[in-house]
Symmetry: C2
Subunit: 350 residues, 2 copies
């Protein structure tokens, strides 16, 4: 599931910015937070990480970490109720091939999240030189295992294995990543319902819903057209009656298009690509990109930076996700949600 | 296949407008055609069908009828070569349920087109009160029949039959309409290839190609998000690296978006909805809509009118499809092309 540009990192200097002012469902500009000492390190594309001026208007910070926590807590209660009533424990199988460090971290985070909510996780670590047949056999085994309700193949796979073949082999009833073309086709079609929606774009839309950001009739722009985020995010926004435009590497003057967006979702993994001047005043901005940028002033030696030049954008937008602690934690929450939904469907549990 | 708003009508007053000036692959404004006596009847939404002024610049008319003829002639040669070399005749099965007059006309046209190119057509006319099971059984029979390479269920089906169930039952290898969600999913995904692309949007893109209209990097706007035209047309444009926006009934101020389109495809079935002022000067305009509009001055008592106010648009656009004889004939040509492609795939014929 998901590529390496997505994470669910849970700590960062950015998390200090996460606070929210909500009154009767409406958003108020959050009050001046004074002078925050954000690192001044030069980051990609010349976005100025200036000290926040106390006179600038500021966007509501969409707290993905907090929302993900609420979702996980809800799932935890539901999982426990299911176990009590019908004795079933949801099961999520994760297949990891090879020793990609970042993949291993994601798998560990998923396992931890499963434990938190009470979902049983089945981890299968296959050696880097496993054959396609061996991976297919493992997928097939989980397809047939009634204690497994969701199957996730951690991407990327070693280059000698055909990703399509592996993903196509996952039973559509257990495709909790929502990457099977049949699920994507249903997502694209009016009047059809996918069994699962890919986790990261689902998390983006869930955040918009939870912050009462109107989608219907609004102009939405998605930057990036990947199979795992950009494209399904655009399809989801369209299902909710937004007027959607998709920007990609071949788009000329993308800023002219983004400036028309009431809702902007960026998922390209280009640090600080989207400047404040790209954003329509009052827009809701969702940043899916996440990259390490060297920063000697931090203990780790790097910071995590999104596609959006946060400091500039937060002065123009009405609501914005931070990086990290924005979309990242929602991805795992949606994976747990998809796994639980799958279990309910298998056992006809309401 | 396709809904009632698509047709392949082959005669009309509009056909008098079909002529083309092409020089070395570049488009020149076509010269003044003098005073054409187009009917002055009031048509939908107040589009003025004024007498064409000789001083107005005029768009190239994209002659779908002529291009469809060329495609059919090419297929005819290929079908004949296939028969000669491997003794195989492509087969297209059409299932028509009930006695919808328009559907019957389309089926007749398809049969005629099949005969023209040498494709064997199998027609199955089922009574209006056929059960879903009976229709499914027919689909299944054609799925198993090796002399059938394409199956087409004429839409709309009677209301007691679940369209989804029927379309899903068509073998994906014979889904020449390209409506199966697995084909749509592959169409939406980067790096995947659908077995078939829906005929009408495929015909639109084919016309753009045949008129050397650049798609890559251009702004494209699709009006309408139907499963059979708007949505797949948007996906196709995106596959060719256009920056695509989709407009629909919930879009506010659609004309602000269409005015940015280098390529505009309209597929809503609202006569003359798109006015000249909606169009960017120099845009290529593809009109998929087709509706009957009462017109006592014609022998039939009606005219066929597209979504685009042709008289206005043709003064602003650089290229435009007429209605009829624009996209309509291309739909059937693409159906024949899909059927032939399917046959080649079944018999591994190059």
């Amino acid at each position: 599931m998901a590529s390496m540009i997505f994470t669910d990192c849970s700590t960062s200097t950015m998390s200090r910015l996460n606070h929210l002012n909500r009154l009767n469902g409406a958003f108020l500009p959050r009050p001046c937070v004074g002078k925050l000492s954000l690192p001044r390190t030069a980051s990609g594309r010349g976005c100025t990480l200036s000290i926040r001026s106390s006179s600038s208007p500021s966007a509501i910070v969409i707290n993905g970490k907090a929302e993900a926590k609420k979702i996980k807590d809800d799932i935890k209660i539901e999982v426990s109720r299911m176990k009590e009533l019908i004795g079933v424990v949801p099961g999520l199988a994760v297949i990891l091939v090879g020793e990609n460090k970042e993949s291993a971290t994601y798998v560990r985070n998923k396992k931890k999240a499963c434990e938190y909510v009470g979902i049983k996780s089945f981890e299968l670590l296959l050696p880097e030189d496993s054959s396609e047949e061996e991976v297919l056999k493992s997928v097939s085994g989980f397809n047939d295992d009634p204690s497994v309700h969701g199957i996730l193949v951690q991407l990327p796979l070693p280059s000698h294995i055909d990703e399509q073949n592996i993903l196509n082999a996952v039973s559509i009833e257990k495709d909790v990543d929502g990457f099977h073309p049949l699920n994507i086709g249903r997502l694209a079609m009016r009047g059809r319902e996918p069994l699962f929606v890919p986790c990261t774009p689902k998390g983006c839309i869930e955040l918009l819903h939870r912050y009462n950001i109107v989608i219907k009739g609004k102009r939405a722009v998605v930057i990036g057209r990947s199979n795992i985020v950009g494209m399904p995010a655009a399809l989801l926004l369209q299902r909710e009656d937004a007027t959607v435009s998709i920007i990609h590497s071949r788009t000329e003057n993308p800023e002219e298009i983004t400036r028309e967006a009431d809702i902007l979702i960026s998922a390209v993994g280009q640090p600080n690509m989207v400047r404040g001047s790209w954003i329509k005043p009052g827009a809701a901005v969702i940043d899916v990109g996440i990259k390490r940028v060297e920063d000697s002033s931090t203990a780790r030696g790097y910071r995590l930076v999104g596609d959006i030049c946060y400091e500039e954008a937060s002065k123009v937008a009405s609501a914005i996700t931070p990086v990290p602690d924005g979309v990242g934690p929602m991805t795992i929450a949606m994976l747990l949600s998809n796994t639980f939904t799958s279990t309910k469907r298998f056992h006809n549990f309401q």
